[in-house]
Structure formats: C-alpha cells, structure tokens
Assembly symmetry: C2
Homo-oligomer: 144 residues x 2
Amino acid sequence: MNEEEQVLIHCLYFTASRFARNITKLAEKTFDFGDLAPSYLYMIMIVKFHPEITQKELCHKLSIAPSTSTRFIDKLEKLNLVTRKMDGKQTLISLTEEGERVYLQFRVSLKELFDSYSEILGREFSKDLSKSLHEASDKLEREL
Amino acid sequence: MNEEEQVLIHCLYFTASRFARNITKLAEKTFDFGDLAPSYLYMIMIVKFHPEITQKELCHKLSIAPSTSTRFIDKLEKLNLVTRKMDGKQTLISLTEEGERVYLQFRVSLKELFDSYSEILGREFSKDLSKSLHEASDKLEREL
DNA sequence: CCCTTTCATTTGCATATACAAATATAACAG
DNA sequence: CTGTTATATTTGTATATGCAAATGAAAGGG
C-alpha cells in the first residue's frame, strides 16, 4: 500500500467526510419526503420526544449551529410541521398534528434505511460503527 | 435509555453526519491555509501522487461529484496551485511548484490533525474507526 | 465523411451548513 | 429603577456540495 492510500485510509477527517457523503446519498434515496432533507426529520423526531423544547437544546441534541436551527425551523414552520412559541429570550418548538403524521412516516423510512445499510454493511458492523461514531462525537464536542 | 436516544445512537446516517461536522471543525482549526478548506488539500495530495491525473479519476478517488471537482480545480488553478491540460474529452491535472510547496505544509498539518484527534479519541480507536469508515464507504459505493 | 451515440467536463441552480454581526430579551449590580 | 452584561435567536454572507441540463469532444456505423 502506498503513502497516498495510507493517508486516505488513516485520516479520520477524510474517511468521515467521505462516508457521510455516501450514507447521505443512501438516506436521500430512502427518505422520500418531497423537499425535506433527512436532517429535518431528525429535528422533527427530537421535537416529538420533547414538546416545547428550546431551540438551544435542539441545537445541542442535533449538534448543529444556532443559525442552522433557525433556518430549519423556518422551513418546518412554513410547511406547518412545527410551531414556534416565544418565551422571553427563548423559543419553544412543538409539533403540529401534521408534524406528528410526518414523524410516523419517518419512523417507517428510518427502519427501511436501517435495513438498507445493514444489508450492505452487515447488521453488527453497522451497529458498532454507529456507536463508535456517537461516542467519538461526544468526546470531540467536549473538547472543542 | 429512551427510544429517541436509541435512534440517535443507532442511525448510521445521523451519527456519521454529526461526526463529520465535528471532525471538520477540528480540521478547520488545525489547517490554516487561508481560504483553502481542508478538502482542497486532499485533492492536492492526490494530484501530487498522480501527476496528469484525469479529473474523472480525481472524482473517484475523492468520492466527490464531477461538478464539485470542477469548482475545486477552478479555485486551485486561480491560486496557482494546479494546472489544467485539456486532452480530448479529458482534463489532466498537475501541481505547480507552488502546489508542491503547499503539499509539504499540508503533510505537516495532517500530522498535527492526527495527533490532535488521537489525543482525544485514542490512537488505536482512531485508526480502527478510520479503517472501518473507509471500508464501509467502499462497500456503499459499490452498491449505489 | 456525416450522423448518432457516448463520455467528460462545465454551468445553472439549489441546499445544508457555518461564522460573525445584529438584535432582542432577561438578569444583575448599584 | 436604570445601565450594563449575559444569553438566545436571527440575519447577512459565504462555502461545500449535489443534481440535472448544457456543452464539447471522440468514436463508430453507414
């Protein structure tokens, strides 16, 4: 194996970005929610489990920047999937009924996605990889 | 552990995107090349190892879309780091002398980045994770 | 040699995402 | 109660990235 390949295989930044692109492609194929990209659906899920969650908390749970969350919520609100409620400095987010419906569909798609990559990568391997990524993110976030 | 956390930890799409965001942040802190984002540097490295590589081959090695490669090369050419040579349908890319210099600096930064995440995540863990991601990407690309 | 098909690159357009600056609101010190 | 400080959100702006359509160039059939 030559030097180039060594670097490409061992650089976590490179392998992680590449893998994220590939799995995003798979997710986009699997989730068919019109113009809703996969990441919006995770936001919907978090809100489902935490009605009246603050925007800040949402950012934290999704590991996204506040500005990104503003734009996500703008879009979801326009689509009538969530509602904003101002509360002092904070903004509280909840699902609408339509949002609840989308959530249910999302759970079905999520299962499809899971089956889809499990078939390609192996069920155990996928599970372990996901767990490793989760832990690694937690550690990085603590340090950054 | 509740249902939400289960999903967030076990969905490879979610954990992978999140981790990619986090490690990108670290990479951007480490690589200080003015307005050159990390991904450009990988392109420079590939070209370093394969002078006169075709654009198509570059896309393949980096797992990026052709349009993305066009824009990357536009920028690198403008910065005088690579040259384009048209050859029939194809375009051949090579490094300029300035590009070679940037490559050398990049290698130093790459080592820093490696040390940086190794310290947070552990050397072996990082290596294994990177290898897993590499293999998983290969498998996904074969299927998609 | 022209016409059609094929392949590589580019361009137009759209989206996710971030950072920094601006804004809005609350909290606190005196 | 007022001025300052701290915190949450939004807005302006920029970049990476992709898809689909357009372009350009070669290759092959007649």
